[in-house]
């Protein structure tokens, strides 16, 4: 495209130059007439001067060409130009009629004042050839200006009209090369020769018009472009023109001095042979060079094409998804390695066979590829591939039509994605979800069992032990009473543990929904629930300003209550418990800490802290050993972590995180 633009730019400069040259010639002629320097209108003392009418007309036509080239026109301007063109056309026709028929108007004498008297009548007359050129050029202009941009054919007519003018001008000019006479006799009547200035002006003007019409139209299109034809035309035409001009010039101007006919024709023949041979040699070398480079280019292109093809083929073969192309009849036209593996058949056998027959449901497969043809594509079309050995693969097809360069659909390009694994994973996930649901259900049941069925016998044991104690206390000795007490204590502990298990199991099953909650209120609620024990121990509990987060408030209160009551429970006997709660944002989550000045925990046992019923302390501390386990489970339900840092004798800090 860049060269196209460049060509257009050059053509425009060229036509502008031509228009300016023809304008200069006409202006010179006008000046010559007006200043009595006729030489300016004739270019040579023995030549005919260009009369005023054609001088003005050439000027007008040159300016019109410039207007056409630079297109500053609007509708009104086009209208004015057309009127002017029609006026000049009329004049030209009238003058033609005036001079060569009996219809005499002598229009020139009314319209133009010749400041200098003319000695020869013939000199003042406009050549009929010039008038014909004007008529042709004006018609060309009328085509050019009246055209809509897409009327290419008509604009070619304009170019051809200009081309005729160019030929006429060339005839005139070559005539001058051979010393054209002032008057020519044509069919018995005497007509005036075209002035050399007029010939030059029309020569440039017609060239300019052809260039202005552009490279896309004949005849210019034959000379422009990278095609061999255009290049040969560009080469041959000038050679021929120059050859004939030189040949004739020599013929006319040199040989008349030598009258020996045999020598003359001998020299001319040899000269012609040498020149034509030179030209043909030049053309041949040019053509063969071009052909050779074209051949090399073809080879290179072929190589590149081969590379591109093998690249594409490797891509296709490298795909793990089975790829096939299918023609309009549903036959496979191409496959890749993955297809061979999936079907268990070699490609020779696959290509040319029916696409649909490799699926468990051929009708559905048929419907699928037909849908591609009608719709242009399918996405995620589910089919089951069946290999030669009967192995089945669930696949999703994605397919599009491909078209030839004329846009006609030539086939379908289809890629299958093996989703067997995916389906398996989905099934596993579904099964897992069902298992989870069932285990949740079982857990709920367990919770009920724990709350009722396990406690019932326990209560009976305790009650009857106590009944024995109540009724027979005085009849039993101290040992028996001790034994009863141990049994009752153990039963009470067992009940505690059952309650712990129940609350542990209820973290998931009885959890309420999450909401944005102010942790300050949550912590305060936990503290309020512990009022009695706080008063008993005179514990000092403080907390920083805490964030508002998306939590299950009652469970979080439970966590804080557990941690605070642990801290209080494990305080140093001789010290007031001091507990501080704080929160800090870190890497998109909040890290909470509950710090105390209690007895501390030996960290080598820390892994046992969060295991159910593991107690690290002696019997002097009461508790079910389930509080921290419930905390852990609640924190995990909140997608957080819980851990501890501690030093024996200094205190402990429990940390846990909650995502923001």
């Amino acid at each position: 495209m860049g060269t196209d633009l460049e060509t257009n730019r050059r053509l425009r400069s060229f036509s502008t130059g031509c228009a300016i040259l023809s304008a200069i010639i006409s202006v010179l002629a006008i000046l010559g007439w007006l200043t009595n320097n006729l030489i300016l209108a004739q270019f040579g003392p023995s030549y005919k001067p260009m009369p005023l009418f054609p001088s003005y007309t050439y000027l007008f036509l040159s300016v019109t060409l410039l207007i056409y080239i630079y297109r500053p026109f609007n509708d009104l301007m086009v209208l004015l130009i057309k009127i002017a063109l029609l006026f000049v056309l009329g004049l030209s026709i009238l003058i033609l009629l005036n001079d060569y028929t009996d219809f005499h108007l002598e229009l020139e004498h009314y319209l133009l004042h010749y400041p200098i008297p003319l000695n020869v009548t013939g000199e003042s007359r406009v050549s009929p050839l010039t008038l014909v050129k004007f008529i042709l050029i004006i018609f060309a202009y009328l085509f050019m200006f009246s055209l809509k941009p897409n009327a290419l054919k008509n604009i070619s007519i304009a170019a051809w009209l200009s081309f005729i003018v160019l030929i006429l001008a060339s005839i005139n000019l070559t005539g001058y090369l051979y010393s054209a006479p002032m008057n020519v006799y044509l069919g018995g009547s005497q007509i005036t020769t075209t002035a050399i200035t007029s010939s030059l002006a029309s020569f440039f003007l017609s060239l300019g018009i052809i260039a202005a019409i552009g490279k896309d139209h004949r005849p210019l299109s034959a000379f422009i472009g990278p095609s061999l034809f255009a290049r040969l035309m560009r080469l041959i035409l000038p050679v021929i023109i120059i050859f004939f001009i030189i040949n004739n010039w020599i013929n006319v101007n040199v040989f008349p001095h030598y009258t020996e006919y045999a020598i003359t024709s001998g020299i001319m023949s040899m000269l012609s042979i040498v020149l034509i041979n030179l030209a043909i040699t030049k053309i041949s070398s040019k053509v063969s060079k071009d052909l050779e480079s074209a051949h090399l280019e073809t080879l290179k292109t072929k190589e590149k094409l081969q590379d591109a093809l093998s690249y594409n083929r490797s891509l296709i073969e490298a795909s793990l998804d089975p790829l096939v192309t299918i023609n309009i009849k549903g036959k496979i036209t191409d496959v890749n390695l993955a297809t061979e593996l999936a079907t268990g058949l070699p490609r020779e056998q696959l290509i040319g066979s029916d696409f649909s027959k490799y699926f468990t449901d051929p009708e559905h497969a048929d419907k699928g590829y037909k849908e591609v043809f009608s719709k242009g594509f399918v996405t995620d079309y589910a089919l089951t591939l069946q290999s030669a050995s009967g192995e089945k693969k669930d696949v999703l097809y994605n397919a599009v039509v491909y078209k030839d360069k004329n846009g006609a659909i030539s086939g379908v390009f289809a890629a299958a994605r093996d989703i067997t694994e995916q389906n398996k994973a989905e099934m596993a996930a579904k099964k897992y979800a069902m298992d989870l649901e069932r285990s949740n259900q079982e857990l709920k049941q367990f919770a009920y069992i724990a709350s009722h069925d396990l406690q019932e016998p326990l209560r009976v044991i305790t009650s009857y032990l106590q009944l024995i104690e109540r009724r027979y206390k005085d009849h039993l000795d101290q040992d028996a009473n001790d034994f009863i007490k141990f049994a009752v204590d153990a039963a009470a502990r067992l009940q505690n543990m059952i309650n712990g298990l129940l609350s542990y199991s209820r973290v998931e099953t009885q959890g309420s929904s999450f909401a944005m909650m102010d942790l300050n209120n949550v912590v305060q609620e936990a503290i309020d629930n512990l009022t009695v024990v706080i008063e008993e121990t005179k514990a000092l509990i403080t907390y920083d300003h805490l964030p508002t987060l998306f939590i299950d408030a009652s469970q979080m209160a439970n966590v804080f209550q557990n941690l605070i009551s642990n801290s209080i429970k494990f305080h140093k006997p001789d010290q007031q418990p001091i507990i501080h709660i704080s929160a800090e944002k870190k890497d998109g989550e909040w890290v909470f800490s509950v710090n105390d000045n209690g007895i501390g925990i030996d960290l080598k046992y820390k892994h046992k802290l969060f295991i159910i019923f593991k107690r690290l302390v002696g019997a002097e501390y009461t508790g079910s050993g389930i509080g921290l386990v419930v905390c852990k489970r609640i924190i995990e339900r909140h997608k957080g972590r819980i851990w501890v840092d501690s030093e024996v004798g200094k205190g402990s800090t429990f940390y846990f995180t909650i995502p923001e």
């Binding site: 709350s451 406690q455 209560r459 009976v460 009857y464 032990l465 106590q466 009944l467």
Partner: protein, 145 residues
């Protein structure tokens, strides 16, 4: 209110240990009580409807009803009693070990007159039984028979 005749209580309870315990607790009381036992819901309904061997039984003044029993359970008994025009006036005290919220809610939904969890401790249990007695038979005015 002074009861001249003995108080008729229907205890619906499947566990012999619990039946005995309730009996023992009642023994420690001043009031004269006729304690009738039904070992499950089916027996309880037969008793209340005076069917089969229970034809001569009196209409109880109070029902102590456990929830979890074989065959017909306490929930069904409660529902049938409270839906029956003849029986609905009898106060029903749910006496159970269950602390499941759904049980508590369901019981009140079926118009149980109160829901009491059996305490673990014997003395507390005896206390509860005493309180049931004194509440229903000395404080509360019962519907006329």
């Amino acid at each position: 209110m002074d009861f001249i005749r003995p108080i008729e209580i229907l205890l619906v309870e499947d566990s012999p240990a619990d039946i005995r315990l309730t009996e023992e607790a009642l023994k420690e009381n001043k009031l004269k009580v006729n304690l009738h036992i039904a070992h499950d819901g089916v027996e309880a309904m037969e008793f209340l409807n005076k069917e089969n061997k229970y034809a001569d039984m009196p209409k109880p003044d109070l029902i102590l009803l456990d929830l979890n029993m074989p065959r017909k359970d306490g929930r069904e008994v409660l529902k049938e009693v409270k839906e029956s025009p003849l029986l609905s006036t009898i106060p029903v005290v749910i006496l159970t070990i269950s602390k499941a919220e759904e049980d508590i809610l369901l019981s009140y939904k079926y118009h149980a007159n109160c829901y009491i969890r059996k305490p673990l401790d014997l003395s507390q249990f005896i206390d509860v039984v005493k309180k049931i007695e004194s509440f229903w038979f000395t404080i509360v005015t019962l519907p006329p028979k």
